[in-house]
């Protein structure tokens, strides 16, 4: 294509399409089998009902925080889990508090929670103030949520989504009042803090498995199975890539700097690098059209 276009890593694009295909195929399969596919036990998710039960016994609210990210797949997934939590809390007429940093997440959360109360047949129990926009600044948000935790003595808390430095502030404040905490962060740097401070932690893609695990909807179960197949495909690709890269490492090419000499391939000359992330070609406008 004229050398003008940067065909960036075609194999990466093909691989992404293949993974998307796997997921859609398994969604189709699960729909046909009504979602009767196996999902292993996840202790953190089994603890959800126990935590809400404890909060009900104590007559204290359940706190939910969908992270501090914007409205994206992560926060929607967190709200999906919170819909289940709210459903269970609504059955026992247990108060909830859902604190948001992002106004878009707040708006969507409000709709979802209202919808849950309506579906459960108790729309009169829905309190519009249970879903709150606290602040759009990270530490003002952390201070605000910590204040709610300490004032209302929440008995159970679900911290799920994109968390950053505020993760430990929230988890330790909750710990100080003896609340049960179920947490998960898609930020890998925050997971250790949650592991250290919380009672139950969902690690990595368990967060995305949660809605399938809790609701057993065929679409979600199929999607989860597709993700697992994709993981196998990625593992196989890594193995193959390691072998090809090792073979490339043995190759010798003429050395441009020293005539008559040979040298090993540089990292960006290896086949794998070129397939996934080729070098940007040089191009300057010629001053005309083709």
């Amino acid at each position: 294509m004229d050398g003008v276009y940067y065909e960036k890593g075609w194999l990466g694009v093909v691989f992404t399409l293949m993974v998307a295909g796997f997921i859609l195929l398994n969604i189709y399969r699960a729909r046909k089998t009504s979602g009767k596919l196996f999902i292993r036990r996840i202790p953190g998710l089994n603890a959800i009902d126990d935590s809400i039960g404890r909060a009900t016994e104590m007559g204290k609210p359940v706190l939910m925080v969908p992270g501090i990210g914007t409205l994206n797949a992560i926060s929607v997934q967190a709200l999906q889990i919170f819909a289940y939590v709210t459903k269970t809390a609504a059955k026992f007429a247990n108060p909830i508090r859902l604190c948001c940093l992002d106004p878009a997440v707040y708006t969507v959360a409000q709709e979802i929670i209202r919808d849950v109360y309506q579906t459960e047949g108790v729309p009169e129990n829905y309190d519009p103030d249970s879903v709150r926009f606290i602040s759009d600044r990270q530490f003002a948000f952390a201070a605000g949520v910590s204040g709610i935790i300490l004032r209302e003595r929440t008995a159970a808390a679900f911290l799920m989504g994109e968390f950053f430095a505020e993760s430990l502030i929230l988890a330790e404040t909750l710990n100080s009042i003896g609340a049960i905490q179920v947490a998960c962060s898609t930020e890998i740097t925050q997971t250790p803090f949650f592991v250290a401070a919380c009672d139950y932690v969902l690690i990595g893609d368990e967060f995305y498995a949660a809605s399938a695990y809790l609701s057993r909807q065929p679409v979600l179960v199929g999607s989860l199975v597709g993700q697992d197949w994709s993981k196998l495909a990625i593992a196989a690709t890594i193995l193959l890539g390691a072998l090809v890269n090792s073979a490339d490492g043995l190759k010798r090419v003429p050395d441009e700097a020293n005539e008559g000499q040979t040298r090993a391939l540089k990292a960006d000359e290896k086949m794998i690098t070129d397939l996934f992330s080729p070098k940007k070609p040089e191009w300057k406008p010629a001053g005309g059209t083709q």
Binding site: T107, I112, E172
Partner: protein
């Protein structure tokens, strides 16, 4: 002829920096044209919203699904399509062809499409502020528990918004350099509230983490199970490896056993810490990252194709 319609239609949605006259999205600032466009856009937006609300319930989902699909399709195309090496290339120097045109159009349209979401976010921020004000006004009116804190919040919010706007307007009218020199009340107030109070209070919240790390680490590192013991040992090695005096002492001791023995040298603190980092921690993090990435992809696909049912459904 075929290229003619492409060149007429494709720049329509793109905010090409070199040729603003080619598209309908921009006009010189302060002109009646821009206000007219803003008005038309507002009317169109509210009209669409009203139409969606008035639509039968069974149709709302497919309509919003169609919008989501179109919006998602744009970003899928941005990802899949070959990219121009230099999207700043002037129009007259761009090579012509269907693929090339679409490629440049996609690159040029990214700011326009991104602005759509920025505008929506600005509207939604108003809803957030409304919720905050309503909750705290009610609390003050009903004299609920801790209502004085709500008064502080409302006063702070109004003061920050007032001084923020006043400072911005003053800088716009007088110029930033003059404001910094004269330092009027607007600048003083904004500086006091933002740099003098907000930033400092945020820093105080951040600094709490240091104490929380200590208390969380104390609980996590207690030897309760095999996993906790392994965690403790790994953390101990990682921490000791950051202490110069310990590293020098330990590594010196190992070297005294046999500096030329490669096997013995594997037990220096930096080698053990490096082994844990490179062979245990990094692969573990990568594996978790793959899982998270795949989960996000699956979630994105379900949202894009409207397969996701969120809420009480």
């Amino acid at each position: 002829m075929e290229a003619g319609w492409r060149h007429a239609v494709i720049p329509w949605l793109a905010q090409a920096p070199a040729a603003p006259a080619l598209n309908m999205w921009n006009a010189p600032a302060g002109t009646p044209e821009i206000w007219m466009k803003v008005g038309i856009a507002m009317l169109a937006g509210f009209g669409l919203l009203a139409a969606l609300i008035a639509a039968p319930t069974r149709l709302r989902r497919p309509i919003s699904g169609a919008f989501i699909f179109l919006a998602g399709l744009f970003w899928v195309l941005v990802f899949l399509f070959p990219k121009p090496i230099d999207s700043q290339t002037p129009h007259e120097q761009r090579p012509r062809g269907f693929v090339q045109d679409v490629s440049f159009w996609l690159a040029d349209a990214i700011p326009v499409v991104s602005n759509f979401s920025n505008i929506l976010t600005a509207f939604i921020l108003g809803l957030g502020v409304f919720s905050l004000v309503r909750i705290h006004l009610m609390r003050v009116a009903k004299k609920q528990n801790d209502w004085p804190f709500s008064v502080v919040l409302l006063v702070s919010m109004v003061a920050m918004a007032t001084f923020g706007y006043w400072d911005w307007k003053t800088r716009l009218d007088l110029g930033g350099a003059k404001v910094d020199e004269a330092w009027p009340l607007a600048a003083y107030g904004k500086d006091l509230l933002f740099d003098g109070m907000l930033q400092v209070m945020e820093a105080a919240m951040f600094s709490l983490i240091a104490f929380f790390i200590l208390s969380a680490a104390y609980r996590a590192f207690r030897i309760r199970s095999v996993e906790a013991t392994i965690l403790l040992c790994a953390a101990l090695i990682a921490m000791l490896n950051l202490m110069g005096a310990v590293v020098v002492t330990w590594d010196g001791m190992i070297e005294s056993f046999g500096k030329d023995n490669a096997f013995v040298m594997n037990f220096t603190l930096s080698s053990v810490a490096g082994f844990i980092r490179d062979n245990l921690q990094t692969p573990g993090i990568r594996a978790i990252d793959f899982g998270i990435g795949l989960g996000a992809l699956a979630m994105g696909l379900r949202l894009w194709l409207s397969l996701e049912r969120v809420g009480g459904n």
